[in-house]
């Protein structure tokens, strides 16, 4: 029987981490380097499931250490005798690192750079000459830890990142194939069906992992490195396909009542071509050549049948078809990109990358709030260390507080209390070994067995991805408490001091969680909800902008910021909704919260569609005739959004539904009258089609507002808003 069957991945990972830690300690002690536990830190913090991911994280740690060291030396040289100027300089540098962390795939580089400055500056002690030695030791130990686990990961049960990446992409393509098949069957848009809901969740989860997997695969696979631009394009297109597929699903609900087969005669051909295209992409990812390339499947509309539809059904069908056309283009591009990756085509595919709007990313209020939280934590620690006498282990107190505060910038939803138990376990285990076991050891062999067993135990107990923080905290505290050195000293007081200072660190972090900006899940959830509706209100007001009269720079700036909010807030709300405690949920369930967030995501997509269509040329005839009604509709939406930004609980399903139905009825009559009075040749112009689509987009936004009101009815808003300890 192969060892793959004998040992689970959980055991293998624990063995590899334990072995790498022992190896790092062994080399550090044999070279007589100080702070041997820094090498163990590199192992504890950087080991991930595949070799490539671990190597990537190790390189980020190494380069972050170098940048942090450089900054520390510069600051020490600039302000050798001025404590406050040094602290201000350090705060500016570390603050910049903390600011760069959220929303950045290379956040770990900034984290290590930021935490290295106080660590290096303080670990050197009062004599600045020690600082250079500290920097050298820190860099050596980090490189040693990196080398140790690289060797272990590459030689023992190697797990290729390339295989993991290809598996994930195959899984994603298969999920999209199933989703497309489901949406093109007569049960389109059946949201109660658990199958597509699970598939959608799967696509989101796999997509979130792809960036990290590619970063790792680029390092441990030459083939992936060679085709890295094509791989990045592939991930970008898969991301676009996922969002377009979601928009398509939402738009299909509005055309459920019409006979799509009759209106789009080639729909069946398109469905089979789409299915075949996904199958061919899957085959290429498996390594085989495609049987044939993508063929064209035009989605022409039957004009006679279209004339029989109501204007809003016509608009919904046009939107539905435009999403299908987008999917057609994206799957064609996907096919070509995969063929390029597999060297199955000579055609050069232009690489595309996701263009992240810089301004909304840079001025994101949640990002600035995270930096405020870090700042409060660090400065509280500094002031306590300076002004409160006899605080034990001040270096560890400041360094650990800074490191944890920075880590919270990328995981702001993590409850502080959840890390307390692993930390306490790490101290207890490390303390017991240090006091009871280590004094009896006479050789490195004995020490190696003890370290191996302790590391294995912590890794085995914290094996799930959600327990990663616990694993890292446990291993780090174990290494700190044991403090292994060639000339080992034993001090009961050092264990007690570390144990005493940790509650102080948690107390500081707890204060920073509430002040100056609250990071309680329910507070952040309501804050983000208000921000989302404020963005919707402003963007709805910007629909009145006349193309002939360009907006001011300030108006354009605000629009860009609100567009950024529209795109990013629903994703953040989904994360915070899952972090809401039971006390805040009250009568509502997590499922209801997720449904509420999904309705907001749908509303965001509809708003984006509306803004996009509004920018297209419109029919002058329809615009003139429907001006007052569309204006009333826009003002009504603006009013509702403004109200919801302050009182999301005020969404009244019955009221919204009746108002929307009345508006639709009035507009349909008006459109019929206008069309009846016009020359039929002029009705079929592209401008008229755009105007009908614009009305459809207004309706889409209104329908999603009605849906939000329906979901909102099930939420226990009183409990969500209620103050509690």
């Amino acid at each position: 029987m192969s060892d793959q069957r004998v040992l689970s991945d959980r055991v293998k990972t624990a063995i590899k981490t334990a072995l790498a830690t022992v190896l790092a300690y062994g080399v550090a002690l044999s070279m007589d380097w100080g702070h041997a536990y820094w090498a163990a830190f590199a192992v504890a913090f950087c080991t991930l499931s595949t070799a490539g991911e671990s190597l990537n994280k190790g390189l980020l740690r190494l380069s972050g250490t170098l940048l942090g060291s450089l900054a520390a030396v510069t600051l020490i040289a600039l302000f050798p005798q001025d404590r406050w100027l040094f602290l201000i300089g350090m705060t500016i540098f570390t603050g910049f690192c903390a600011y760069m962390m959220p929303g950045n795939s290379r956040w770990y580089f900034w984290h290590v750079a930021g935490l290295s400055v106080p660590l290096i500056a303080l670990a050197g002690g009062a004599n600045p000459l020690n600082d250079f030695q500290t920097i050298i030791t820190r860099s050596e130990e980090t490189a040693l830890g990196f080398l140790s686990y690289s060797l272990v990961w590459l030689l023992i049960w190697p797990t290729s990142s390339r295989e993991a990446l290809e598996d994930a992409v195959r899984q994603l393509v298969a999920a999209h194939r199933q989703l497309a098949a489901h949406y093109l069957t007569p049960t389109i848009g059946e949201t109660h069906d658990a199958g597509p809901a699970a598939l959608r969740r799967q696509t989101t989860q796999v997509l979130a992992r792809l960036g990290g997997l590619l970063d790792g695969a680029e390092i441990d696979s030459y083939e992936v490195w060679e085709a890295r631009h094509a791989w990045r394009s592939l991930i970008h297109r898969l991301s676009q396909l996922t969002s377009t597929s979601e928009r398509w699903r939402q738009s299909s609900a509005e055309v459920r009542e019409v006979d799509r087969q009759r209106l789009i005669p080639e729909l069946t051909t398109f469905a089979s071509e789409l299915d075949r295209r996904f199958a061919e992409i899957g085959r290429m990812l498996e390594g085989g050549p495609p049987e044939r390339g993508p063929i064209s499947a035009p989605l022409n509309l039957d004009d006679n049948e279209m004339a029989s539809l109501s204007p809003f059904h016509r608009a919904a069908l046009l939107l539905y078809r435009s999403h299908l056309q987008e999917i057609d283009k994206l799957t064609r591009d996907l096919f070509e990109t995969v063929a390029d990756i597999r060297n199955l085509t000579r055609a050069k595919i232009e690489p595309t990358r996701e263009a992240i709007p810089l301004l909304p990313w840079a001025l994101d209020p949640e990002r600035l709030a995270s930096v405020a939280r870090w700042f409060t934590g660090l400065w509280l620690a500094w002031l306590i260390a300076i002004y409160v006498p006899d605080i034990p282990d001040t270096v560890e107190f400041i360094v650990v507080t800074n490191s944890l505060s920075m880590a919270l910038c990328v995981m702001p939803q993590l409850p502080i209390a959840r890390t307390f138990l692993p930390v306490a376990f790490g101290i207890a285990l490390g303390g017991a070994l240090y006091i009871l076991e280590m004094p009896h050891l006479a050789s490195f062999a004995g020490l190696a067995v003890v370290i191996f067993a302790a590391v294995f135990l912590i890794c085995y107990l914290n094996h799930r991805p959600t327990q990663a923080v616990g694993k890292v905290a446990g291993l780090a505290l174990l290494a700190m408490v044991m403090g292994v050195a060639n000339e080992q000293e034993y001090s009961f007081l050092s264990v007690i001091n570390l144990a005493a200072v940790l509650p102080l660190i948690f107390a500081v972090l707890a204060v920073a969680t509430y002040f100056p900006v609250s990071f309680r899940a329910e507070h952040v959830f309501l804050r983000l909800l208000g921000r989302f509706f404020r963005a919707c209100a402003y963007l709805a007001s910007s629909l009145q902008w006349d193309p002939a009269n360009p907006p001011t720079r300030w108006q354009r700036l605000r629009r860009v910021l609100h567009l950024g909010d529209l795109a990013s807030v629903p994703g953040k709300l989904a994360i915070w909704a899952s972090a809401l405690p039971a006390a805040a949920l009250g009568q509502s369930t997590t499922g209801q919260m997720q449904a509420l967030v999904e309705s907001l995501q749908a509303l965001a997509y509809r708003m984006q569609d509306l803004i996009e269509i509004r920018a297209t040329p419109q029919s002058q005839v329809l615009a003139r005739e429907l001006l007052s009604q569309v204006r009333a509709w826009r003002l009504g939406l603006q009013d509702i959004f403004c109200n919801l930004s302050q009182h999301p609980e005020a969404a009244d399903f019955a009221d919204f539904r009746s108002r929307l139905d009345a508006m639709l009825e009035r507009l349909e009559e008006q459109i019929e009258k206008t069309v009846a009075g016009e020359d039929p040749a002029g009705i079929a112009t592209r401008e008229n089609e755009n105007s009908i689509r614009l009305l459809g987009a207004y309706r889409g936004v209104s329908e999603e507002l009605v849906n939000f009101a329906r979901q909102s009815g099930g939420i226990d808003w009183a409990r969500l808003r209620e103050t509690r300890f």
Partner: protein, 70 residues
């Protein structure tokens, strides 16, 4: 009232009674906060986080007067 300060000791380790009182005060305040949350009384406080700190101080003070005087 004893004017001379005294310490508690466990084995050979001496520590201030205030440390134990503060720890007990924090535990008692946490339990009180849990109970206030459980019975939804906390909604009547304007800023519960400050109330928790106040409760900790009050409990610690009471313990240092009545339970383990320093």
């Amino acid at each position: 009232m004893h004017l001379i300060p005294h310490e508690l000791y466990v084995g050979e380790v001496f520590f201030s009674p205030m440390l134990l009182n503060a720890a007990l005060g924090l535990v008692a305040a946490t339990i009180t906060a849990r109970l206030l949350n459980r019975f939804r009384v906390s909604r009547y406080f304007y800023y519960p986080s400050l109330v928790l700190i106040a409760l900790t101080v009050i409990y610690s003070g009471l313990f240092s007067i009545f339970l383990i005087p320093g």
